[in-house]
């Protein structure tokens, strides 16, 4: 029998009567990158929670290096060499990178912390694994990508040899993802083992050796990645055929829906949008590609009335939106799927029905004479839940209790049901499972096909390439180029986003 670094045998985890994991077995070899693929709520995080000592299995056993172990808490797991890199980083912003790494395991000299030894140890590790980190910087000043590398370093510093990554690419830019993939490879080459939780097929194809597909708490199949097509993986994960291609009808693009001229927007005293011109026509999806932080958020905030314009003009169908309140702009026909669905798009402790009327609660039929009509609100909620396929117990369920994909569907339902002239979609499928992505894409295309304008801002290049009729690249607050998605590639887009090559106008 082969020696496995980690072996999970017939693991079952029950919460009350609900089986989050049902008889799952998996094996991890030395030097292997194993992908754990499944939709949100399939049970991936529960399974890894047990491997990292956060949860205890109801049934089944875990073997590390061939020995049965019992882990009562994350400390036990760390001692066994298991390092977890969480989706949400657990770092102290006010501490330096070095302090964060050694926290809890400080090397000491007499009674004081031996920072010198710690620093040299860490630097050695950083070199070995190509981890680009600045150990003297404060965590609050470094990028998300570097914070993740600090988390990896924390595990390395504690001599982990099994690394679990929980959706590590969710918050990264394309360049950072590339860097991460290099690090994963380096980890594996040095004889460590990696488990990689994700629902992104492309990343699995790129980096993983084997892939365990989980659906509804059960292992569906374990496959060799090199021999399996993306479409097949997707089908196994979702449990049905997934439609990758999108259907775009010919549309009349003669009318200008949104006209942005010479726009300048400031945030925190910095000019984030500079002399920007942008048009969106009827029946058109304009994709805005760009690395996070290049003024995309400020552009959206300016259009939707959440941020003041310093200079320039914004017109919707020829009417100026300038100095109108967010409500007036929304009434003028601008819908927006915001970047941050949990903090901006929804009020999580409100019910689904309440969230669905968040932009229309003040007018008929949701309310009259200052009084809310809950009967109507709930009826409306029921209708939208049905027509937008929001998976929930009832319209009175709290938005916070829904899965990410269904939360996003609530927002999509609200924005699209208002029949906007212009729909702004900012990262509409971030952190959402494939089934919901497919659905949201369909709905966005549907808007386009019915002759409305769509402004799509996304960090997922594939999404932009797939949906857009026209792509503009935003860099340091300006549009630095426009390309036709039919004649470009992710590589070319990536370079333009980095602002590296001079852009010749194409298309």
């Amino acid at each position: 029998m082969e020696d496995y670094v980690v072996e999970m045998r017939h693991i079952t985890k029950q919460f009350g009567s609900y089986k989050a994991n049902n008889d799952i077995s998996l094996q991890l070899r030395k030097g292997e990158i194993l992908a754990l693929l499944g939709e949100n709520g399939a049970g991936k995080s529960t399974l890894m929670g047990m491997l990292s000592g956060l949860l205890e299995p109801t049934d089944g056993e875990i073997l590390i290096n061939g020995k049965v172990v019992k882990m009562e808490n994350p400390r036990d797991a760390k001692k066994l060499g298991i390092g977890m890199v969480h989706q949400h980083f657990m770092l102290i912003p006010a501490f330096s990178v070095l302090e964060n790494i050694i926290l809890g395991d400080e090397p000491t000299k007499a009674t004081s912390i031996n920072y010198k030894k710690a620093a040299s140890d860490i630097e050695k590790l950083a070199e070995k694994y190509h981890l680009d980190i600045d150990i003297n910087a404060k965590v609050r000043d470094i990028t998300v990508g570097m914070q993740q590398r600090v988390e990896i370093m924390k595990a390395l510093y504690r001599k982990a040899n099994v690394f679990i990554f929980d959706e590590p690419t969710a918050a990264l830019t394309p360049q950072e993802i590339e860097q991460l993939i290099k690090i994963l490879r380096a980890l594996a080459e040095e004889g460590n083992s990696v488990i990689f939780i994700t629902h992104k097929l492309k990343e699995i194809k790129e980096v993983a050796d084997r892939c365990v597909v989980i659906r509804m708490g059960k292992v569906i199949e374990t496959v060799q990645v090199a021999e399996t097509k993306e479409e097949v993986l997707a089908e196994m994960m979702v449990g049905r055929k997934v439609n990758f291609a999108v259907e775009k009808k010919e549309t009349d693009k003669s009318k200008t829906i949104l006209a942005v001229n010479d726009l300048n927007v400031e945030a925190h005293g910095l000019l984030k949008v500079k002399d920007l011109d942008l048009n969106v026509h009827s029946g058109e999806i304009v994709g805005v590609a760009g690395v996070d932080g290049n003024g995309q958020s400020e552009l959206i905030e300016a259009i939707t009335g959440l941020r003041k314009i310093k200079k320039g003009s914004i017109e919707l169908k020829g009417k100026s939106l300038q100095n109108l309140s967010a409500r007036r702009i929304s009434e003028a026909g601008v819908g927006c799927i915001p970047e941050d669905r949990q903090n901006v798009g929804l009020i999580l402790p409100f019910t689904i029905a309440e969230n669905l009327v968040l932009k229309s609660y003040y007018k008929k039929p949701a309310s009259r004479h200052g009084l809310l009509n809950y009967k109507k609100i709930n009826e409306l909620g029921k209708q939208l839940i049905k027509s937008f396929d929001i998976r929930s117990q009832s319209e009175k369920e709290l938005a916070g209790d829904l899965s990410g994909g269904n939360q996003q569907k609530v927002i999509v339902a609200r924005e699209i049901s208002a029949s906007p002239n212009l729909l702004i979609a900012a990262n509409p499928t971030r952190g959402v499972d494939i089934g919901a992505i497919e659905y949201i894409h369909e709905k966005i295309i549907e808007q386009r096909n019915t002759g409305r304008g769509v402004l799509l801002i996304s960090f997922e290049l594939d999404e932009i390439l797939k949906l857009s009729d026209r792509i503009v690249v935003m860099h340091e607050g300006q549009i630095v180029g426009e390309i036709d998605p039919r004649h470009t590639s992710s590589e070319e887009l990536g370079l333009m986003m980095a602002g590296k090559t001079p852009i010749g106008q194409e298309g």
């Binding site: 939707t304 309140s325 901006v344 309440e354 809310l372």
Partner: protein, 360 residues
């Protein structure tokens, strides 16, 4: 739904029980008889028409200041200004009654109550405006406003309302007194007054406001998630100011009713009225639920009024009641710790450890 609200009840009930137990243990340690004392407490607060009248009267301002705190809290603000808003409401009602004593009774009373409530609301609104436009922490501004109004009222009473050498305003005309002869007659001359029914009506109004009105919906939306409200087009600044205005209105109304129904004048005072702070405790015990506030106020009132008689019938110091009250608040506070522990799965782990132990 039902099991949820039952769970919500469990925590305050356990806290109350635990508070009484702590009080009993302390009494035993210091050689007092807890059973006798708790009996005196109940008799002193509910043992007769007079005591019941006093207990109910004491509830009025507790209910109204608690509601005030709850409204601000729903909008996400910690309004500690209750004592000051109560005081200015009291002052406003007395001034109105003294200055317009020629008006017919009904108009005089309505005018005085409105004047007091409005004074409280406007005073609290200052903190709201500062918060909305400058982001100033309402905790600090409301504390400061408390002291500012304390000394303004002292100054105004001393130099304007009181006659020379006196520290109190003259008494209001008896036609403005909410403690009418009829109520005195049926409650054995207690201070029970019509304000109690006003307070209950306000409870219903606040409940209605939060559950049925557009404006109440906006306040809760802003309180739960300001950026989402802004994105949805809610005028956040205006909502913050409205919430603080209503919050102060309610506390001010509490002061106005006490002024007309209980004190009948206003005096110079060294301290802020305690009721403003107790109202916060009532609101917290009731988890800011308007209906719950009525019951929490009843409990506090029983303790406060009954506590007075503890030291009358025995040599137990009445401070023991303050300890019981403080313990209850303490245990309510612990509730948050329990919730946190439950979230982190501490209780689950204990179960497992227990299981593991049994296996060995």
């Amino acid at each position: 739904m039902n099991t949820k609200s039952l769970k919500g009840l469990a925590i305050p009930l356990v806290s109350v029980l635990a508070g009484f137990i702590v009080g009993a243990i302390l009494m035993l340690i210091f050689g007092y008889d807890p059973i006798q004392n708790y009996q005196n407490l109940l008799v002193g607060s509910l043992g007769g028409v007079y005591s019941i009248g006093e207990t109910l009267r004491n509830m009025i301002s507790l209910i109204l200041t608690a509601l005030g705190f709850a409204v601000a809290s729903k909008a996400g603000f910690f309004n500690i200004g209750g004592p000051g808003q109560y005081l200015i409401g009291w002052f406003g009602a007395i001034v109105f009654t003294l200055k317009f004593s020629h008006l017919p009774a009904v108009i005089l009373i309505i005018g005085a109550l409105l004047c007091g409530a409005l004074a409280g609301g406007l005073w609290s609104m200052i903190a709201g405006v500062l918060r909305a436009y400058f982001g100033t922490s309402e905790v600090i501004t409301t504390i400061m406003l408390n002291y500012i109004i304390l000394y303004i009222v002292n100054f105004a009473v001393k130099s304007w309302l009181a006659s020379k050498g006196s520290d109190s305003s003259p008494n209001i005309t008896s036609k403005a007194n909410l403690n009418t002869p009829f109520l005195q007659h049926i409650t054995d001359n207690s201070t029970f007054n019509w304000g109690f029914f006003i307070a209950l009506a306000v409870v219903a109004l606040v409940w209605f406001y939060f559950n049925k009105t557009k404006s109440g919906f906006e306040i809760q939306a802003v309180g739960l998630n300001e950026s989402a409200s802004q994105y949805a087009g809610v005028n956040v600044k205006r909502t913050i100011i409205i919430a603080m205005l209503i919050s102060g209105l309610l506390a001010g109304l509490g002061g106005a009713i006490d002024g007309l129904g209980n004190f009948e004048n206003i005096s110079v005072s060294n301290n802020l009225p305690n009721v403003g702070f107790n109202g916060m405790a009532v609101a917290l015990l009731a988890a800011e639920n308007p209906i719950g506030i009525v019951f929490a106020a009843l409990l506090f009132s029983v303790l406060q009024i009954g506590g007075l008689s503890i030291s009358v019938y025995s040599n137990t110091p009445s401070e023991i009641v303050d300890i019981v009250i403080a313990s209850i608040i303490f245990f309510v506070g612990i509730k948050y710790a329990f919730e946190l522990m439950a979230k982190k799965g501490w209780f689950n782990r204990k179960n497992k450890v227990g299981k593991g132990g049994a296996e060995k």
